[in-house]
């Protein structure tokens, strides 16, 4: 493969002289999506989807040089044709399609194949070389349809209401939180942590249609939270803040919740296997749909997944990258303590 190289700074396109999702500062960082393990501070310029721009500003600061593209529009960088295709992972997430002298490579970043109601649906792109994740690249990860999971979440919430408990859903600020908003729209008033509220506002300014939410402030009353639904990022899931609520009950929304041991480890009261990554059948169908001759697996169960692909006759290789830790890297400021209602 001449078009892409895996270097110690990131995935490099030599012909075009740009990097895709580099983890060290470079001149031009083509960015698949706004999660912290895929985009770092310090690059001279960024190129990403229109809707990833507000995320970068929100997370990395306003003093950034960002070029944007819509999906399916081709541009030329030093002779390399570049275009973006929806990856279905979070709002604005893109697969990067590169073409040079008839050779086509697609770098998918993170993706899922099920439409989540809020991120543009994944679109398979035919190519010679496909760079894939494998976060859930084991056959134990097979997601239930989103509708079923949302009905489980709703019945959990209504159970909590009956028992006078406060429902706290734990979800990444970018992606999962907005997906929850959409899925729970109109069900109850939704209170969100600052980090989620800030991103939501950025999305709304960029023209994304999001359900109404209430930002949690020092003036928010515990009683109101108990009647509604609270969404917080993972960093807050086990803190004092939740203990301070009325009978807080936490429900973690993550693909890892598929396995009982993970549910127990997170010491959550409930776990919902709602993921923004492709499950095992999703990874396989996406890869087959590209009809690629070569698959590079960048993060997740890379060794296992790539060994399996080779066994079923798809040429595959694992590569070392620094992706795959979107949860760990999310830095969260403290949330103000919620007041008792003294009235």
């Amino acid at each position: 493969m001449s078009l892409l190289r895996f270097t110690n700074k990131g995935i490099y396109c030599k012909k075009g002289d740009f990097y895709i999702d580099p983890w060290q500062p470079v001149d031009l960082a083509v960015t698949t999506h706004g999660h912290a393990d895929h985009v770092k501070w310090g690059n001279k310029a960024y190129l990403c989807h229109d809707l990833t721009k507000p995320i970068l500003h929100q997370r990395l600061g306003i003093d950034l040089k960002i070029e944007t593209l819509p999906y399916n529009k081709q541009i030329d960088i030093n002779g390399v044709k570049l275009s973006l295709f929806p990856a279905g992972h979070v709002i604005g997430s893109s697969q990067i399609r590169l073409e040079y002298k008839g050779e086509i490579c697609v770098v998918s970043g993170d993706y899922k194949v099920e439409y989540d109601g809020i991120s543009t649906a994944f679109e398979p792109v035919k190519c010679h070389t496909f760079v894939s994740e494998s976060t859930f690249g084991l056959p134990i990860y097979k997601w239930h349809p989103q509708d079923l999971i949302f009905s489980q979440i709703k019945s959990w919430i209504s159970n909590n209401h009956d028992q006078n408990k406060t429902s706290v859903l734990v979800a990444y600020s970018l992606g999962k939180a907005q997906r929850l908003l959409k899925g729970l729209e109109g069900y109850s008033s939704i209170y969100v942590h600052n980090s989620i509220a800030n991103l939501n506002e950025a999305f709304i300014r960029a023209g994304v249609d999001l359900p109404e939410t209430i930002r949690i402030t020092a003036d928010t009353k515990k009683e109101d939270l108990q009647k509604g639904i609270v969404i917080v990022p993972p960093a807050l899931a086990e803190g004092r803040w939740i203990k301070n609520l009325i009978n807080g009950s936490t429900g973690v929304c993550s693909g890892w919740m598929q396995v009982r041991a993970s549910r127990r480890w997170r010491s959550a009261d409930a776990g919902f296997a709602l993921s923004d990554h492709a499950d095992w059948p999703g990874l396989l169908s996406a890869i087959k749909a590209t009809q690629a001759e070569k698959i590079f697996v960048t993060h997740g169960f890379t060794a296992t997944f790539s060994k399996y692909l080779n066994e079923i006759g798809i040429d595959s290789e694992e590569v070392k990258t620094q992706y795959g830790n979107e949860e760990e890297e999310e830095k969260i400021e403290e949330q103000p303590t919620v007041k008792e209602d003294l009235s």
């Binding site: 084991l138 056959p139 134990i140 990860y141 097979k142 598929q258 993970s262 480890w265």
Partner: protein, 533 residues
């Protein structure tokens, strides 16, 4: 089956005891009558004979899911539970059924007489008619290993609440001998079966570890001190001409200890003794490592009988002439016990565990320092006025253990954990120094905080030298103090030694790898423990 699956989900969804008890109570209020005794049997570890062996189940699941064996193995490693792995890798069920739990269990029991093809047809059909969570439960029914975080005590408390019955009585009932196929829930909870049954033991009275100064317990003359023995807690029951030996794990272990069988002629009907099963030779208690040769064996040979002869150190009497003595004081029971034991022959096998006399706490503290010399773990303190409680109750019985042995080691291998620890290097192998070589001495995976685990994990990632499958050889740099309860010779380990209950006491960031203990240090320790017996 659905209601039971729902119960399991509720039990797993909360880590609060009250929530779990509430879930159990509502289950026993609503569940099918015939299902209930089976659920109690499962939760108390009564295992039916496994109808299909594990390797066949695993083979069929792998076949059906269309994945290679190695991929199944990887999945299993990640999940950490075979039943769950199978439930997750199978293709979705095609036709759901809702059969009752006891119907499934009875059908599984009926498989024993069937040939392999019939067994396979049944299992595959079951998998195809159950959704993921139910499949997991079904697989657990096959294996019989139902460990779901419900202790006997918790179950008993729930049953007591549900049936408005005294918890001690329920503990009796469910610990006795009964078959879920032969008893109704009401009879079981009401204890209808226990009167006609001579084997039932009493729930053991358990002690809490003493973490404060003993002087805070009050006056020495209110307390009885005994040696704390390091063996198997046991209860000897003699009723209706039969002798039964129960272990703390509520298992009948009568057959394992023929040395004690003579008691059937010595003890009166309606006698129950509490004490410790130990290896005793020439009047001395031997190290636990020696007793271990006698445990969990189907047959015992002459060498074992000779090397590790059994003795019973008794310290309590719970029943005499058929009368329950648990409401009597410790002082009363001790007095009676002394009289009864004095009339028994073979005093080298049935031994009255001696009372350690003391006037002042400081004096007892000094005596306690000599515990290791007689293969004791420390001192037991029992209030003279105390009754015999069911289970653990704070205040009347305390174990005042001597500190564990410790050894400084260096970490040389790390492996990712399974299940909840699957994403971190959490299982470590430690080595001591033997000349200029390092030699492995223990494997341990508990004792660090989550923060330390993350720190060690990142050390392993950065300092891995070699990769053998899931195992990483790491630069020998991190020093850990390993605590352990005993030491034994072992042919299986390179060092020729094995540590008992090794665990990480602390991470010695202040020490360097050249400051760790040597093999010679541990050999000396072994020699000194064996010399005690």
């Amino acid at each position: 089956m659905r209601r039971f699956t729902e119960l399991i989900q509720q039990l797993e969804m909360s880590n609060k005891t009250n929530d779990k008890i509430a879930a159990l109570v509502s289950y026993f209020n609503e569940a099918d009558e015939l299902d209930k005794p089976f659920v109690i049997a499962m939760f108390t570890g009564k295992k039916p004979k496994r109808p299909v062996n594990t390797s066949l189940i695993r083979q069929w699941a792998t076949e059906l899911s269309g994945i290679p064996d190695w991929l199944f193995a990887e999945s299993y490693h990640s999940v950490g539970d075979l039943s769950e792995t199978i439930a997750l890798v199978l293709p979705p069920a095609e036709h759901l059924t809702n059969r009752k739990l006891h119907e499934w269990i009875n059908d599984l029991a009926g498989l024993h007489s069937k040939d392999e093809d019939d067994k396979k047809a049944f299992i595959l059909n079951a998998w195809n008619s159950l959704e993921t969570q139910e499949r997991f439960i079904f697989n657990k029914l096959i294996s019989g290993n139902f460990r779901i975080g419900v202790s006997n005590k918790m179950l008993v408390n729930a049953l007591a609440k549900q049936s408005d019955t005294d918890a001690n009585k329920i503990m009796h009932s469910i610990m006795g001998k009964w078959e879920p196929t032969e008893i109704t829930y009401n009879d079981l909870v009401g204890g209808a079966h226990v009167n006609t049954n001579s084997s039932w033991p009493y729930p053991f009275c358990l002690a809490y570890a003493l973490e404060m100064e003993p002087s805070s317990l009050g006056q020495p003359n209110e307390w009885q001190a005994e040696w704390k023995w390091d063996g198997i807690r046991g209860q000897i029951v003699k009723r209706n001409g039969e002798l039964f030996i129960w272990s703390r794990g509520e298992e009948l272990v009568t057959a394992q200890f023929p040395e004690l069988h003579f008691l059937v002629d010595e003890l009166e009907d309606g006698t129950v003794l509490d004490g410790e099963i130990l290896s005793v030779k020439d009047g001395n208690v031997q190290a636990f490592s020696i007793l271990q040769q006698r445990l969990n064996r189907k047959t015992i040979n002459k060498v074992q009988l000779n090397d590790a002869p059994i003795g019973f150190y008794t310290y309590d009497i719970l029943e005499y002439q058929g009368e329950d003595l648990r409401e009597q004081t410790m002082a009363f029971r001790r007095n009676l016990l002394e009289k009864i034991i004095s009339q028994i022959e073979k005093k080298d096998i049935i031994v009255l565990s001696p009372v350690v006399s003391f006037d002042r706490w400081e004096q007892l503290a000094e005596t306690r320092q000599g515990a290791r010399k007689i293969n004791s773990e420390g001192i037991m303190l029992k209030k003279l006025e105390s009754l015999y409680h069911a289970g653990r109750k704070r205040g009347d019985w305390w174990k005042w253990k001597i500190n564990p042995y410790t050894v400084d080691t260096v970490m040389i291998y790390a492996q990712k954990g399974s299940g909840r620890r699957a994403n971190f290097f959490t299982d470590y192998t430690f080595a001591i120094r033997d000349g200029d070589k390092l030699i492995t001495i223990a494997k341990a995976y508990s004792g660090l905080t989550d923060k330390e685990i993350k720190e060690v994990n990142s050390f392993v990632v950065k300092n891995a030298i070699e990769k053998f499958g899931p195992v990483r050889t790491v630069k020998p740099e991190l020093v850990f103090e390993i605590a352990f309860e005993g030491i034994a010779e072992s042919k299986r380990h390179k060092a020729g030694l094995a540590l008992r209950f090794p665990r990480i006491a602390r991470w010695r960031k202040d020490k360097k790898a050249d400051e760790i203990n040597t093999l010679e240090d541990l050999r000396q320790l072994l020699t000194s423990t064996l010399a005690n017996s």
